[in-house]
Amino acid sequence: MCMMEKIEQAIPLFNNWIANWKNEGKKVLGYFCSYIPEEIIYAADILPIRMRARGCTDTPMGDAYMTPTTCSFTRCCLELANRKQYDFLDGIISCNCCDQVRRLYDNLRYKTPFPYHYIIGIPGYVSNTTIDWFKHELSKFKKKLEYEFNIAISQEKLKKTIYMYNKSRTLLKELYMLRKRDNPPVSGTEIIKILLAGISIPREQFNEILELELKQINKKNGISDYRARVMLVGSMLDEPEYIGIIENLGGLVVIDSLCFGTRYFWDLVDETLDPLEALAKRYLSKISCPRMTDGHLKRAEFMMDMIKEFKVDGVIFQRMKFCPLWWAEIFMLRNKLKEDHIPFLDLEREYVLSGAGAMKTRVQTFMEILETR
């Protein structure tokens, strides 16, 4: 079995990796956001997997409880929970990353309770005061986890786990750097598959796969038949098919600012500090999502730096319908791109891929604009 096949096997919500983990008698917890430190969960010998809702096609319960004007991701999650699609989970960990996710947590507890649930409070900006608060929150979370699952998370274990996760981050960054080439050896579609696999494969095994995959990809011939180099910016996107549509039309995605992409792994945890302090610092100060109220300028700067470094021709924004965070953020980022005369395309989408025809037309037009520049 080639590496990419192994990786693709790990993409479904429940897969063999998770089944094998559970067969060893170990627990699995679903978590909702890239602001939740997986390291603490994994250090408790629990597999943290990012909550997704693939396979959801309609949301009657989600509409009724979350209302039809909340984002379709949260409605889909409530729907799948009601349909027992998350029954393999031993619990969920949420946070106040956005209004919709924090209310999803409430609705899940009332309508489709999990055996274990916990919510972490994450401050809205970075300062010594907020980092100290977040460290306190993480400490509470660690204690709860230890109590609930009757396991001690030692400093050594936490340090070891941080090292493991940092290794993933370093390898992923190496992989991303290959995309700077004029003919990148890896597509955006392949990248998202690797990232998705990473959120359900046990970390040691994921690192092994990543190392091998990196070697193989490095030897591959680069992709040269693209029409434009694209940066993808926006919220949660866990659908390789979505990126596939862009790439099939000639827009090679060479870099991103996405929840599952750079925002997930770009920054390392400082291994020289006390582990909880290091985690608090890293998770609050990482490349932020618009939930962080002091981060817009840094996010804009990151986008502009990536555009230069990865020789981007145009930016595609993808934002989930009814997401206030990303609509307002993209409104500001668009102004920045206009100032610098960088073309962009703003796509609104539902969590479940729909309206592919209309999307193709818009991407096709965008490609023509980029080609004629």
């Binding site: 209302t67 209310r103 919510i119 109220t293 319908k321 206030p324 609509w327 668009r334």
Partner: protein, 442 residues
């Protein structure tokens, strides 16, 4: 009480004359519109407060005072203590709504690609449209909270970004609900808020070039706590059957605290409301004569329909006890030392209208509503939810189920845009409420 007779009307009309500055032109229009709309009303302390809120802004501008814009869920005590002029941003969208003047700015926000109603709330969005058209008041400083919603925090950032105004954001922590220890906040939370308040003061001192006078601060906090005591008494008095005050009364307390919290004006207004309620009970006067239905309204008013509650009173003899904002329930605190004043300010921030009920898990909103229903002998609950209000709308259904189960009281939930009558019209809202009251409640 004296009527807003021609003499008083002309006095306030005259005070509104003169050039308020280009960015206050809409502010002035709103003042004149409200003055005209209220010309036949009784001239109450609350009306006086309202007029002065509008008049104080151009006055502050003339005096060269630093103007700081802040959101609807933060008391301006510290700004008053530092002799800064607070400007509650949402007064703009709330004030323009009944005049149907929000629509122009909402449409302009749409046109420039800044959101739509179900995504971003129109309590803040008209600010961007009006700014782009040169009609928004331009403050010197901007302050906002991370709560109760992302929409608020994002729109303030967009404004900060467009208008290039120095801004300070305060994080209001989310806290976990524990059944065994259902604490609203712990020492760590209060300490966290106090630290942020001290950071805010340093920032204000730096930006406004004014030092906080601690005597002023302590006096301000004493005023705040005096007003809080009046409000708590007032809230208790509203438990009386029939309710001694009409449906809009509680909102007066909120208005006083969100615009003039910490000043003598707020003490005067809250005392007046308390005294009026006492007097009405003593004289057997009901807010709604022959009261038949007592309604809990755990959300904001439908601001574009200024007559909705009067219609409810006249048509159904129904009294809305208090709306979510008007149900201000911050406990008075010790202000004997400066440290205690900081704590009082922190606790007031955590408990402020809508913050206290919405910054955490759903249990706190449910608990608030269950107590409201039980304590005030409520007959039904009406929740007119703003489509874009994700954090509140997404807890309405579960909350209504719990309320029905535990109290047997019927609940009406409907979506609308309190700031724009075009989404769901006044007629449609009244039809829904009529059907609910006649077919289920009565």
């Amino acid at each position: 009480m004296k009527k807003l007779d021609i003499e008083i009307y002309n006095k306030y009309k005259k005070l509104g004359r003169g050039n308020w500055g280009k960015d206050l032109s809409m502010w002035k229009m709103m003042y004149m519109g409200i003055l005209y709309q209220r010309k036949d009303e009784e001239f109450t302390t609350i009306l006086e407060l309202l007029f002065n809120i509008f008049l104080d802004l151009p006055k502050a501008r003339k005096e060269g005072k630093t103007i700081i814009m802040h959101p609807f869920n933060y008391g301006p005590e510290i700004f008053h203590a530092m002799n800064l002029e607070p400007l509650m941003q949402e007064l703009f969208s709330v004030g323009l709504a009944p005049l149907h003047l929000n629509e122009t700015y909402i449409d302009f926000s749409n046109k420039i690609g800044f959101g739509d109603n179900p995504t971003l709330c129109n309590a803040q969005r008209p600010l961007i449209g009006s700014f782009m058209q040169g009609a928004a008041p331009i403050p010197d400083l901007l302050f906002f909270l991370s709560t109760p919603c992302n929409s608020l925090a994002m729109t303030y950032q967009v404004f900060e970004n467009l208008a290039k105004i120095p801004a300070f954001n305060m994080d209001v922590p989310y806290w976990a609900y524990e059944q065994q220890a259902s604490e609203f906040y712990d020492d760590k939370t209060v300490e966290y808020m106090v630290k942020q308040i001290k950071d805010l003061i340093s920032w204000l001192e730096q930006e406004s070039k004014q030092k906080l006078n601690y005597e002023n601060f302590q006096q301000t906090m004493k005023n705040v706590n005096q007003a809080r005591e009046y409000i708590l008494e007032f809230n208790e008095l509203l438990k009386t059957v029939p309710c001694p005050m009409p449906s809009q009364a509680g909102f007066g307390n909120y208005l006083a605290m969100v615009t003039r919290g910490g000043t003598d004006d707020a003490v005067k207004a809250t005392k007046w409301l308390r005294d009026t309620a006492v007097e009405n009970i003593k004289n057997g006067i009901a807010g709604v004569p022959d009261e038949k239905i007592r309604i809990a309204w755990p959300y904001t008013h439908v601001f574009f329909d200024a007559d909705l509650l009067t219609w409810l009173e006249e048509t159904f003899k129904a009294v809305v006890i208090m709306d979510l904002l008007g149900f201000y329930q911050v406990l008075p605190h010790d202000t004997s030392t400066i440290d205690k004043c900081y704590e009082s300010l922190a606790l007031g921030t955590l408990d402020f209208s809508m913050v206290g009920t919405c910054r955490g898990p759903i249990e706190y909103y449910i608990e608030f509503l269950l107590n409201y229903v039980k304590d005030y002998k409520i007959d039904c609950v009406i929740m007119p939810m703003q489509f874009a209000c994700k954090h509140a709308y997404a807890m309405a259904r579960v909350t209504s189920e719990v309320v029905r189960e535990e109290t047997g009281i019927p609940v009406l939930i409907f979506g609308c845009d309190p700031y724009d009558s075009r989404e769901v019209t006044s007629e449609a809202i009244r039809t829904r409420i009529s059907e609910f009251l006649t077919q289920i409640v009565l």
